[in-house]
Structure formats: structure tokens, C-alpha cells
């Protein structure tokens, strides 16, 4: 009897799979460039302009976490010509031989890159041998101005203690606090807050950060790396540790919705992590020629400025800066002041054994187990 019911379920499942298959296939004669980038992360007009100029058709797919991207790329044969990983994963891609070294002679516009920013890329891609920066930003605190002021009257929201000190968190709990579900990012800022090296190789440092976050855990509503954008904008939560652009996006959404939610973003005074999303060419890219054309196109000041205007993130292209909208360029949360910039740090890869330890500790932070 129950086998019959299973049969019905199987037929159903099959029809779903068939529908999903209909989209693939169909090799095009003309040149195609396959890009795999973060979701909602490029002005569609840029891709259209690129196709118009070069005749290369762009197939653009998106992902929403570094883990998904890395798992796919390491599996090989993804068919992508351009991928966009973040800084702390790059050394792993390089060691695994997953991304190809760049031939700079094919990137004449590479000279436009901003030396000050590029020095921050040294820890993960020394000499810029493998990657071209796309956007960079910071990790900080996004908060609902009115709701937080009600619960923490007179407290200046400029320190990581807002999200790490249980005394503050206890007052914020009812209105909702989110942490990123990105262990490496959270440990980097937690270590830095504790006055330790954010790139520490010492397990004991991570243990100290774990102990601190375990104490904070009862007051954290959720660990998630993207939901906080909606949640902040809707007024469902009042504090989130998150990425600068995401929180600024939430702020824009709340303003557009006119729902009375007023959001702000702050890079805490103790300093924070600067991250990079970079473009790289997978070692097995089917069309590297088109990939180089695209990279060089994205290195043009006017193009990358347009991209920044859309994403509200800073780029690493010096001549592009004056072309970026004043509202983006003038925001110290996007283009930090030189003084603030000195307090930013960058993270790099952990070895497999440490990574395992840290992931395990992170599970303990999240679940108490």
C-alpha cells in the first residue's frame, strides 16, 4: 500500500526535475562568457553595454555564499569563465590550483588600480597574481536608530561592545539581534575586539572569542548572512552585524518603504575587517579570452564607477573615485576616512586543521553544543 503512495510521490518529483532540466543546454555558436557572481551585485546595464561593444554574450549566474561558490569551483568543470570569491578564501583556491594566474599583458587597464587599497590585498594575493578586485567594504553594525536609542539611552553606538557585551545585548534582545552566519568574519571582528590578532593561528585565542560569543548567544535571535537586510528594513530586528553594502541597502529599502524605520551603519571604533570581492578566472575556464576582455572592461574607471553607484560599495580603481556618485563617495562608511582606514584589517586563509576547530567552535556558539 505505502509503496503505491511512494510511486505517486516519485511521479511528482520526476515532473519537477524535468521542468528544471528544460532550462539547460543549447550550445551557442557565438562567443559566450559565463560569469558567476554574488546575487544582486552588478548593474545589468554594464553587462548589456559589454555585449554591445564586444559582441560577447554574457550568461550571468549568482550565488549567495562563499561556501557554495568554493564547493562548486573545487569540484571543477563549472563552465564559468569568471567567478567572484572573497578575500579569505583566495589562498585556498590558489593552492588547490582552482584559479589561473593572470596574464597582466591582457589587462592594460590594471594600471588604474588604487595602490593604497591594493596593499590590503597583499596578505591573500601577494603581487596581485591571481585576482582583480571588484568591490570592497567593511563589516560593521547596522541598527535601528529609534529602537536602539529607546533601549540603550545615552549610549553612543560606536563600539563592538554593543553586540558583544551581554549587558547591552540583554536590553536589545526583545527587539532582535542578528549575527552573520560566517564564522571566519565573526571570529575576525571578535578577536580584534578582544585585542587579539584577527588572523591568529592560536586555538586559545579562538577559544576566548568563542567564550565571549557563547555568553552573547542567549540574546541573539538568529545567525544568518543575508536575512538581516529584509529584517532590518522591515523593522523586524534592531541590530545586525553585517556587511556595509547590505546594511546601506536595507537603509535605502526602509526609506523607500516609508515605514518609519530609520537605519544607520557604523564601523566600530575598535576597528573592523575590510573584505574584498575579487574576480578570478577558474583554471578550467572554457573561454579565458572573453574573461580577460571582461576583466579589462571592468577595470575602466567609468564602468567600475557605474558598478559602485549601483552596489553602493567602494571599488579599488583610483581614477574611478571622482566618477562615483557623491552620495556614495562622500559616505565615510563606504569610502572610509584615512584615519578610519588605518583601523581596518584584512583576513587570510586558515589551514584545514584550524578551520575545522574554528567551524566546530562556531557550531558551539550557534547551538550551545
Amino acid at each position: 500500500m505505502w509503496t503505491k503512495a511512494l510511486g505517486t510521490a516519485a511521479v511528482l518529483a520526476m515532473s519537477v526535475t524535468l521542468a528544471a532540466c528544460g532550462q539547460g543546454g543549447g550550445a551557442a555558436k557565438e562567443q559566450t562568457l559565463k560569469i558567476y557572481n554574488w546575487s544582486d551585485y552588478i548593474d545589468p546595464q554594464i553587462l548589456a553595454d559589454f555585449t554591445k561593444e564586444t559582441g560577447i554574450k554574457v550568461q550571468y549566474d549568482t550565488f549567495d555564499s562563499n561556501e557554495i561558490l568554493e564547493t562548486k569551483v573545487l569540484q571543477g568543470n563549472t563552465g564559468y569563465d569568471i567567478v567572484a570569491p572573497s578575500n579569505h578564501n583566495i589562498p585556498r583556491y590558489i593552492i588547490a590550483g582552482a584559479i589561473a594566474p593572470l596574464d597582466k599583458s591582457k589587462l592594460p587597464n590594471n594600471k588604474n588600480l588604487w595602490p593604497d587599497i591594493m596593499s590590503h590585498m597583499e596578505p591573500f594575493d601577494p603581487g596581485q597574481k591571481y585576482t582583480v578586485p571588484y568591490m570592497w567594504g567593511t563589516i560593521g553594525i547596522g541598527y535601528n536608530v529609534k529602537e536602539v536609542a529607546k533601549r540603550l539611552p545615552g549610549v553612543n553606538i560606536d563600539s563592538w561592545s554593543v553586540v558583544f557585551d551581554p549587558a547591552n545585548l540583554a536590553k536589545l534582545k526583545d527587539c532582535g539581534v542578528y549575527y552573520l552566519d560566517a564564522s571566519e568574519d565573526m571570529y575576525a571582528v571578535a578577536l580584534n575586539y578582544l585585542g587579539k590578532d584577527p588572523n591568529s593561528k592560536n586555538v586559545a585565542d579562538y577559544q576566548a572569542a568563542t567564550d565571549m560569543m557563547v555568553k552573547a548567544r542567549p540574546f541573539i535571535r538568529k545567525f544568518h548572512s543575508s536575512e538581516y537586510v529584509e529584517a532590518l528594513a522591515n523593522g523586524d530586528i534592531c541590530v545586525a552585524v553585517g556587511y556595509s553594502g547590505d546594511i546601506l541597502q536595507a537603509k535605502t529599502r526602509a526609506e523607500e518603504a516609508k515605514n518609519g524605520v530609520e537605519l544607520a551603519y557604523v564601523i566600530p571604533k575598535e576597528g573592523s575587517q575590510v573584505w574584498f570581492d575579487v574576480f578570478a578566472i577558474p583554471a578550467d575556464a572554457p573561454n579565458p579570452t572573453a574573461a580577460y576582455k571582461f576583466l579589462d572592461y571592468m577595470l575602466r574607471p567609468e564602468v567600475i564607477a557605474k558598478a559602485s553607484n549601483y552596489t553602493q560599495y567602494a571599488n579599488a580603481n583610483l581614477p574611478a573615485t571622482p566618477m562615483v556618485d557623491a552620495s556614495v563617495r562622500g559616505d565615510p562608511n563606504v569610502y572610509p576616512t584615512p584615519d578610519l582606514f588605518k583601523r581596518l584589517f584584512v583576513t587570510t586563509t586558515k589551514d584545514q586543521a584550524l578551520l575545522r576547530e574554528v567551524t566546530r567552535m562556531w557550531t558551539r556558539v550557534q547551538t550551545g553544543q
Binding site: L12, L74, G76, I95, A96, Q352, T359
Partner: protein, 299 residues
């Protein structure tokens, strides 16, 4: 005579081919993976089978496999707790599903055929919307400023905070799997003959007694089918706990995800999946056996 037997065996081959191709082969791949070790390479595990070396390559490959990953599983409480927690969620949800699904299926089976058809359609209808969208809709209902709280406020109650709690997971599980419980129950209940109840009444049973002594025992295959159909996928459920649950909820789907994506430890993820498979297969096999025995007795 012989030709005909060949044809039947050919037809019988089809499901075996299907099973081999879509179950056994992937299973062996995962099993092989679970015996490997992680490596910083493409793909991120070792050893890999090197066909160019012929038999020597195969030997080297087999020598590289070990059970180290399995030995590691019981040493960390995390996996044990995740297993138990998954079993608890699936078990409790299955029980709630039975409590809800049985009366529903029973009422449907007692309707006139035309109403029955309409109700059956209503049970299947949710499948026409993507599962993911329905779970997202639940978020819209359960969230702090969601539909449920707005409705509760309108009648002067609440607010309740349900999203990101275990209760939300139960709501999600019960909602998503209800059709899988109702359909097999309905199938057995609909086929039951009314004469049996009349006979029971003639022999002095009250309607309630008749239900417990006739209807329910006869519907047990449906109860078992529905329970298995819900319980098994719920143990490995990932989407519902991930979207509706809180951070402290530990379930196997999430554990496998963490191993696979965050730790890039494909062998550990595979080992957890294989152990899960075996813990689920054993009760099914036991059930199958018992069913077979019952059918034989019946004859």
C-alpha cells in the same frame, strides 16, 4: 512459454536498472567519498582514482581508503546530539501529523464521491506551488510583524514570537508533510467496506468500538505508509529548520551542510549521510519483513 518469461524478466529489469542507476551508483559514490580524506585540491579529497595507472592505480586507490572519518563521528557529541534531535523532530511531527491527518482522511473517505474528488484535489493543490515559496509564506505569517500577530492583535491577543523557534519548525513540518500523511490514509480508508461496520454493529459494537476494533486495525497499513513517508524525509530535512528554525536548533541536514560547505570536509559529510541512511533503512526493512509475514498469515 520461454519467450514470455523473458519478456517479464525484462520488464522486471527496468526498476532494477532505475535503482542501480539512481540509487546504488550515487550511494557507492558517497560511500567511497566517506572513506577518503580531505585535501586542498580539486576536487577537495584524496585519494582519487587514477585510471591511467590501470590495476596499480586501482590498488593504490583502495589502499588509500580508510574508516578514519567514521571513527571520528562518535567522538564528538555534536553528531550524536544532531541525530537524536533530528529523530525527535521527525518523531513528534509524525505523531502530530497522524493526529491531524487521520480524522481528515477519515472524514474525506466518508463523503460522497463527488465531494471526495474535490477534497482530494484540495489536498494535492498545495503541490502546485513551489515548496520553497510555501515555506517563505510561513515566514511571512509567523514573523514578529507578520500576519498571525496582526490578526492576534486585532482580537486583542498576542503578540507571540514563533519564528526561529522549535515550534515554528513543527508548524512548518506538519504543514509541508500533511498531504503525504493524508493521501495513504485516505487510500486505505476509502477502500474499506461499509458492510464490515454494519456487521460490527449487528454483533453489538457501538460506533466507537467498531472504529477501534474494525476501522483502525484495517487502516494500519495506511498509518505505517503515511508515517514512513513523512518520518524519513523529515529526519534529513534541511530547508524547513534552516528557514524557520532558530540558531540553536541542531539537525542533521544542517550538520551535513556545515561539513560539506563550511569545513570543506566532503568525507565527513558523506559519512554522516551514510550513517543516517542506515539508521533509516533498518526500520523500513523490519517493517517490510513484518508486512510480508502478515500477508502470508492472511493467506
Amino acid at each position: 512459454m520461454k519467450a514470455r518469461r523473458d519478456r517479464t524478466s525484462l520488464t522486471a529489469l527496468a526498476p532494477f536498472l532505475w535503482l542501480g542507476l539512481f540509487f546504488l551508483f550515487p550511494f557507492l559514490l558517497v560511500a567511497k567519498l566517506s572513506l577518503s580524506e580531505t585535501a586542498l585540491a580539486m576536487p577537495p579529497y584524496a585519494p582519487r582514482l587514477d585510471w591511467s595507472q590501470g590495476i596499480a592505480g586501482l590498488k593504490a586507490f583502495l589502499a588509500g581508503l580508510d574508516f578514519e572519518t567514521y571513527a571520528r563521528l562518535p567522538t564528538d557529541r555534536l553528531y550524536v546530539v544532531a541525530y537524536l534531535s533530528s529523530l525527535k523532530f521527525a518523531g513528534v511531527a509524525t505523531f502530530i501529523l497522524l493526529l491531524l491527518g487521520y480524522p481528515l482522511a477519515y472524514a474525506m473517505a466518508r463523503c460522497t464521491p463527488s465531494v471526495r474528488r474535490a477534497l482530494l484535489m484540495a489536498v494535492i493543490l498545495p503541490f502546485w506551488t513551489s515548496f520553497l515559496i510555501r515555506v517563505y509564506a510561513l515566514i511571512g505569517i509567523l514573523k514578529p510583524e507578520g500576519l498571525l500577530n496582526v490578526a492576534l492583535r486585532a482580537v486583542g491577543l498576542g503578540p507571540v514570537s514563533l519564528l526561529n523557534t522549535d515550534t515554528a519548525i513543527y508548524i512548518g513540518l506538519v504543514y509541508a508533510y500533511l498531504p503525504f500523511m493524508v493521501l495513504p490514509l485516505y487510500a486505505v480508508l476509502e477502500r474499506q467496506q461499509h458492510d464490515l461496520l454494519e456487521a460490527a454493529a449487528d454483533l453489538g459494537c457501538t460506533p466507537l468500538e467498531a472504529f477501534w476494533r474494525v476501522t483502525f486495525p484495517l487502516s494500519l497499513p495506511g498509518v505505517a505508509a503515511g508515517s514512513l513517508l513523512c518520518f524519513i524525509p523529515m529526519v534529513g530535512e534541511f530547508v524547513i529548520p534552516d528557514l524557520l528554525g532558530g540558531s540553536s536548533t541542531l539537525m542533521l541536514g544542517k550538520t551535513i551542510w556545515t561539513e560539506f560547505f563550511a569545513n570543506r570536509d566532503w568525507p565527513a559529510a558523506s559519512a554522516v549521510a551514510i550513517v543516517l541512511l542506515f539508521t533509516l533503512v533498518i526500520p523500513i526493512v523490519l517493517y517490510q519483513r513484518q508486512q510480508a509475514k502478515l500477508t502470508e498469515l492472511g493467506r
